[in-house]
């Protein structure tokens, strides 16, 4: 599984939420995420969906402000973590 680097930019509307900025291949996107999902300034995004040059397609846990679920991000924004799959 992969985690995507994020930068916290604001509190969410609810104490359990935060707004984070994500660096994309064309700029940046903002998305509301659960505060519990942020660890070491990153959020879980599962496995990559595709790669193209130095960018990787990932699906976010929630829809961004612009309405996107899947975004191309610079590959160096991803961190691999070990997570055992359930049987």
């Amino acid at each position: 599984m992969m985690r995507l680097k994020v930068e916290k930019v604001a509190e969410g509307l609810h104490p359990s939420e935060v707004i984070v900025a994500i660096r994309t291949s064309t700029g940046s996107e903002r998305v509301v995420v659960s505060a519990r999902s942020i660890q070491s300034d990153s959020i879980p995004v599962g496995w990559p969906l595709g790669t193209r040059e130095q960018t990787t397609l990932v699906e976010l846990p929630r829809e961004t402000e612009s309405g996107a679920w899947r975004i191309w991000v610079p590959s160096d924004q991803l961190l691999e973590i070990e997570e055992r799959m359930r049987a």
Binding site: M1, M2, A10, G12, L13, H14, P15, S16, E17, I19, R30, V32, V33, S34, R36, S37, P44, V45, G46, W47, P48, L49, T56, V58, E59, P61, R62, E65, S75, D76, L78, L79, E80, M85, R86
Partner: protein, 185 residues
Amino acid sequence: MILTDREIQIGLTRKQIVIDPAPSSDAYSSTSVDLTLDPVLTLFDIGEAFVRKVVDPTHEKYNIDAALKELTKSHTIDGKAGFDLEPRQLILAWTKEYVHLPLDARLAARVEGKSSLARMGVGVHITAPTIHAGFDGQIRLEVVNHGHLPIKLRPGMKICQLIFEQTLGTPQKGYSGQFSGQSAK
């Protein structure tokens, strides 16, 4: 396929579904589980009736979260007095329960209203009921009173129900086969 109460409980035991705090035994029906209302609400503060505001989602600088911050205020429900949801009023609310659906659990869910509230006009979401695999957090609800009378909302009341469905296969982002062993540089 929709999960029965037994399958939901098995999913909770196996951590294929996370609901925190765990639902009480009377929160289940045969094919759903009830969730409860968190005390924190977001209320729209649209100003005086003679001041007309228009939201333009097509504007190049449109930012939904900035718009909501400008147009709303936070409110915590007093447990004793409750909160009167007026007819035609839209508020944002959250479930008290934190919900997580792991990517590899082959499950998704739908948020639905409670018929006991719906018959008085209360809807709890606006066209976006799907809880996708990988979701985690307290579920945000768009609550509207379509009825004729104010409806009293209290923290901890049953506000919505979750219906779990088995997905056909594992979503691409939960499937490690294609990228197994690869590391991002």
